[in-house]
Symmetry: C2
Subunit: 451 residues, 2 copies
Amino acid sequence: MAQKRQIHFSAYLVGTGIHVASWRLPSAQRNASIDLEFYKKMAQTAERGKFDIAFIADSLAVNEDSHPNILNRFEPTTLLAALAGATSKIGLVATASTTYHEPYNLARLFASVDHISNGRAGWNMVTTGDATGETGRNFSRQSHVEHDERYKQAEEFIDVVQGLWDSWEDDAFVQDKESGVYFDPQKLHRLHYKGQYYSVQGPLNIGRSRQGQPVIVQAGASEPGQRLAARTAEVVFSHVKDFEKAKAFYKSLKGKLADFGRTPDQLHILQGISPIVADSKEEAEAINRQLHDLLLPEQGLRFLSGYLGKVDFSKYTLDTPAAEVEFPPDNGIQSHFERMTELIQKENPTLRELYALLEGGVNRELVGTPEQIADVLEKWFTEGAADGFMFVAPILPQGLEDFVDKVVPILQERGLYRLDYEGDTLRDHLGLRKPVNRFAANSQVLTNVEA
Amino acid sequence: MAQKRQIHFSAYLVGTGIHVASWRLPSAQRNASIDLEFYKKMAQTAERGKFDIAFIADSLAVNEDSHPNILNRFEPTTLLAALAGATSKIGLVATASTTYHEPYNLARLFASVDHISNGRAGWNMVTTGDATGETGRNFSRQSHVEHDERYKQAEEFIDVVQGLWDSWEDDAFVQDKESGVYFDPQKLHRLHYKGQYYSVQGPLNIGRSRQGQPVIVQAGASEPGQRLAARTAEVVFSHVKDFEKAKAFYKSLKGKLADFGRTPDQLHILQGISPIVADSKEEAEAINRQLHDLLLPEQGLRFLSGYLGKVDFSKYTLDTPAAEVEFPPDNGIQSHFERMTELIQKENPTLRELYALLEGGVNRELVGTPEQIADVLEKWFTEGAADGFMFVAPILPQGLEDFVDKVVPILQERGLYRLDYEGDTLRDHLGLRKPVNRFAANSQVLTNVEA
């Protein structure tokens, strides 16, 4: 990649926004979470902002304490297929779990979206934390798979999926009408995978897309998560809020790539940001205060307990110091739990303050003017804390529109961000090569030449 | 339903058509099976013809002997989501297996397509025959589930899926910005299903669509298949070629509905037809001959063995009488096997003749002029053999275009077929009521009133 390094952006699309009270704003659209036109417009806005990715998160269980925007939502792969027709350049990435899908089915879903979008699909593979056991109970399982076990299973899962995606070489379908030969049997490959968790024969009933295979995205911050990312991921979403820690994570993860014969530019680290941008710092602060005032503290806490394990908050008042709360043994999302523990030690918040601090949906240091936001992003990008950002807007669609209209032009002027797309596939946007088919006769040679 | 009874049509969309040699025609489009624009145009043609349904079949394993049009194909639910944006009225139905999916995932996929299409989705539930064991080997299974066991499991599966679809009452999401109440907890319902095969708690993370729930479609002709259809199906695809047998099947299946408290108009029986229509009988015959001449007999036989179990055809010549062939014990598609056995007894074909007779992709009695085709359909419809037809075109898109342009107007003139859609949802087209939510306080009363 001789090209100048540029910031990459992903837009996290979720109803009225990630702030748990965003739906209460006067401007918030009712039913946003299940309105296809609403999602189409957001994807188009992100595409207008030349984002690499429109991103759809997912979960496999909801309850009374879930974020309002995830109670009534589209299934992500079908949503991506629908968004493909409303966009032409932006990458389309969704979350799907390795613990609750069959690899053959999942390989098909994402390969199909990759064809439907003409080479713009990506899969955010997650192993699915399930602190409350609720997900397992939606899938006829008595208990949830343990954290490290999930990652071992995930390694097999991804090997099966990527192997299935190479079932057919790119020129397998000769379709010779004269002779009646539809495909070259030498270019059809069965996987014959036999592992501890999966045995999958293949072939898959869909060929490779214009970009070869969907892009692999991950978010795991734990040690097994980082190992899996270094081995397989092409984009990593991280949620480290502290600049020095983000630098350390960036260096650590990029440093692990060589163990798997990979170079640092083969994996992009995008840090999650939830800014509030306005023409003045005061205006941005006012929006943040409005959101904060709309938040019912009890709701914030109940929402937290969905992430962090079932906490019996009824034993406490809102003024109880969070340090006195008994949290259950962690089988949830490890990075969330660690961040909370640290915040409690450092800032000693009350329960009333905890949600806003931890998961309020807004980065306090990113409430400001377009220039202030751009300065922070430039620093993180140029000083080795991020290759780009997962933009998790507190308020949608407003936050995304403001960011695209006000922050993006500044980054473009500074030469940090593309003026337009230079290719058509997600791999093009990310500067990733089309992967060589592992079964092709000359794949080994090609790999050596290109490495 | 005081309305006049009208024919219902479903268009089976599969690449260049169901005839195994259709891709070899000079007019056949390369890569049709994986070209989204090709599928969009076909769905639009069927919509122009006021069809009830655009239908996508599926399978979960392919091999060297598979139909060319299913080797490289879209995953059906993502394809439906993409087709939803290219159409506005036609119902969108796809096949998915109860044996190889988790009910929670499948319930989401079809509910999501139902929202994306604004109430036009249907699910063709199949239990997946697997004569060769290949499907199981794509899903980490040692052996395939037996026929009757599959149907028991399917009964539980459909109960779970339909139960999950009712997780939220239609007015559950009150979204009261003032009070901060997003939903009415009285209108959120957990399923708490506990069966022999599945234990699923719920709720689903998506609400009901404009038509309430996706339409349930089935195709099973076996005794357990008919029982399941009588209990649950709203559309049944049948493939009986003989008029008297089709009448008997129609009467038998409709007669079973009362056992489940249902009325005959709550289930539509569509008979599969594969006509070749042309301006003259001679022209239609010529097209049929052209297809027949393009068929390599060995390919036809290999294709058969994919359906009927792995037969070692190398032991025979093309001139061997089919009656001498040893077929393996049947765990495939029962109706296909029975039809073959019967044909062999009745017509004593050679192996060369067997494929064309059995699965040639053309109904011999439906090769003719638009009037001749219309006459046959009218007879089947008015004399109690069908409520409509699954149009499985030998050649696509040509066969569908010809049918829409030439046969449909005749049926409209005869008052047998709608001049235009009268509603917007698939249930509207089929004259099916929006199902009452089973958990709603007044659902029992309503059910009694309407029954």
